[in-house]
């Protein structure tokens, strides 16, 4: 028997040692703690809670809590549905419903109400509205995701520098963020696009650049609160350098609000894209975009109300889905709610 085994024998409540070697975790919390003197032993009774906790991971935990939130799951299902429809659109929308760009100039082919041929009707150029809504989702989702990815990338770096190092750097970055936030959002976006030129790519660049200050602020405050924890001091006392501190110890604990905020921001970015396209500053015709479709439908509101109904419905549901998802993630990722 090695030295350690001797120690163990000495250190443990003797019955720990003789305990059945069941390793499924059921008994371990009942095991005595190290004590020489048995009279002082306080066996901790096993609780169902701890046993049920057995093999779960942190993300497993979050998923478990998210699953219980019906609204969040509804949002998730809708987002996945929209993504699947968009990804597979070339396979079934184009052949069976029509090309979103194919105009039909035959007399009476335009502004048709919904029918078996065109389930959402046709627009003023005789294009199938359903096909345009489906392909518009591509634009909206791409803009939403890429724009938020840009915001998050800039925001995370800025927020991390600001929150972790503090001092002058913090002041510099945060005052910079304030300057960005001081401008009216849409106006700033329009101004940026006026400089860059209206195009699909410039829309997400503009939205992405404008989004970073909020992300940086959220991340900074999250880092500041994480920094107060003793495990951060412990990591420092362990000899961790700045990079290890930021990326291994602080970020994983501080990133949850960003996941939540980022998810909700995708919804916001979709709305901004629609607004910019509506104003003619975004995606240019004939590319199908929900905002552009709304804009086209506006003068025909009375004659063909379905034209604005479909893209409006698409924007509403998709944005709502992202917001509900974000809301659910907030509850699911909150470590403090862990029981």
């Amino acid at each position: 028997m090695s030295d350690r085994d001797d120690l163990r024998h000495d250190a443990h409540n003797p019955h720990t040692h003789d305990e059945s070697p069941v390793d499924n975790g059921e008994l371990r919390d009942a095991a005595g703690h190290s004590i020489k003197d048995q009279s002082r032993s306080l066996p901790i009774p096993p609780t169902d809670d701890i046993i049920a906790d057995g093999g779960r991971t942190l993300w497993g935990d979050a998923w478990y809590r998210l699953r219980k939130n019906k609204l969040a799951i509804a949002g998730l299902v809708w987002v996945i549905f929209v993504i699947l429809v968009t990804l597979t659109a070339d396979l079934w929308v184009k052949p069976y419903f029509g090309d979103p760009l194919a105009m039909d100039t035959t007399l009476g082919a335009n502004l048709q109400p919904p029918s078996a041929d065109h389930i959402m009707g046709t627009d003023k150029l005789g294009r199938d509205v359903f096909a345009r809504v489906v392909y518009g989702a591509r634009i909206s989702l791409t803009v939403g995701v890429i724009a938020v990815a840009i915001s998050v990338a800039i925001g995370l770096i800025m927020g991390a520098l600001s929150g972790y190092f503090g001092g002058f750097l913090d002041t510099l970055i945060m005052r910079g963020a304030d300057v960005f936030l001081a401008f009216p959002y849409v106006l700033f976006a329009i101004a940026l696009i006026a400089v860059l030129g209206p195009s699909y790519r410039n829309v997400f660049i503009a939205i992405g650049i404008l989004g970073w200050p909020s992300i940086a602020r959220v991340f900074r405050s999250s880092i500041l609160s994480v920094k107060e924890n003793e495990y951060i001091d412990a990591a420092k006392a362990m000899g961790a350098g700045h990079l290890r501190m930021i990326f291994r110890h602080i970020m994983p604990n501080a990133v949850a609000p960003i996941i939540v905020y980022g998810t909700m921001s995708i919804g916001g970015a979709i709305i901004t894209e629609a607004a910019l396209s509506f104003l003619g500053m975004g995606v240019q015709p004939p590319t199908p975009s929900w905002g552009l479709m709304l804009s086209d439908a506006r003068p025909l509101m009375v004659r063909a109300p379905w034209l604005m109904l479909w893209p409006g419905f698409a924007i509403l549901t998709t944005v709502l889905a992202f917001v509900l998802m974000g809301d659910g993630l907030r509850d699911a990722l909150d470590v403090k709610m862990k029981d």
Partner: protein, 339 residues
Amino acid sequence: MSTLLEVRNLKTHFHTRDGVVKAVDGVNFNLEPGKTLAVVGESGSGKSVTALSIMRLIPKTTGVIGTDSDILFKGESVLGMDDAGVRSIRGNRIAMIFQDPMTSLNPVYRVGRQIGESLILHKGLKKKEADERAVELLDMVGIPHAGERAKDYPHQFSGGMRQRAMIAMALACDPDILIADEPTTALDVTIQAQILELMIELQERTGTAIIMITHDLGVVADMANEVMVMYAGKQIEYGTAEDVFYRPLHPYTWGLLESLPRHDVSEKGILLPITGQPPSLINVPSGCAFHPRCPYAKDVCRTQVPQLTSIEDGHSSACLFSGDPGFRRETASPSREVV
């Protein structure tokens, strides 16, 4: 025996809006290999700041260590090292355990992974080797089913187990010095006893020197070779545990010992608290900092600052009257040993 750690005239001051807080003001001590030094005092007496100064964990923005201060680890000045040098010592040669085990473990990593981290960092171990070593360490600190438990997350551990895990983490690299900052304060009394016994046992095995920071004199009596009593950032008494407990010199130490509940005194024995509040560290009372609360204070105490002077061999006190043979008190040991 060569001196492991020498602290020379340590002065750590914090510059705040209200003035300069002299958290530590001229502390000297030596630590020999394998020995235990207890640092005792009320909240705000500078115990923790002393420890953090040794680890160089004082925030640079507000905290200033005096230019004539020095901390020598194996003869090398810790204060003079660059960041990389300090990091190579932290967690490797000098490790630290924090007060609250509930918050000292990073919630997003498995316990085993956290224990192994310093091995990866300092000893260049591979992840897998570090994981294996972490299991051995958990086993060493008396966690039953260590192999299984290493895969758990901190929230699946009880408070006592987390403190064991913290000890395992601190001892991972087999450090020369273990600084324990009130390691038992946040724990139940029964668990406290277990943790202390564990530390004593591990010290016997590994030969690590321990700096035990505590306000619990019972803890000190069980473990310490030498005791340093601090008040308002200054050392007021220093000596072997035996001397300080049985032949205390300073009236403050008398007060500490008399305010301790005792199991060998009848129930009617009245606890004598030290009246008043610990002084503000910005406006430290003139003369002896303890004079406003000292029942023996004379006029001279208001004006003359007592220096730490050696009264007997290896036993010194910072009281103007300590040299007076009549100014003595005998006390019984405040050991927490339950009979």
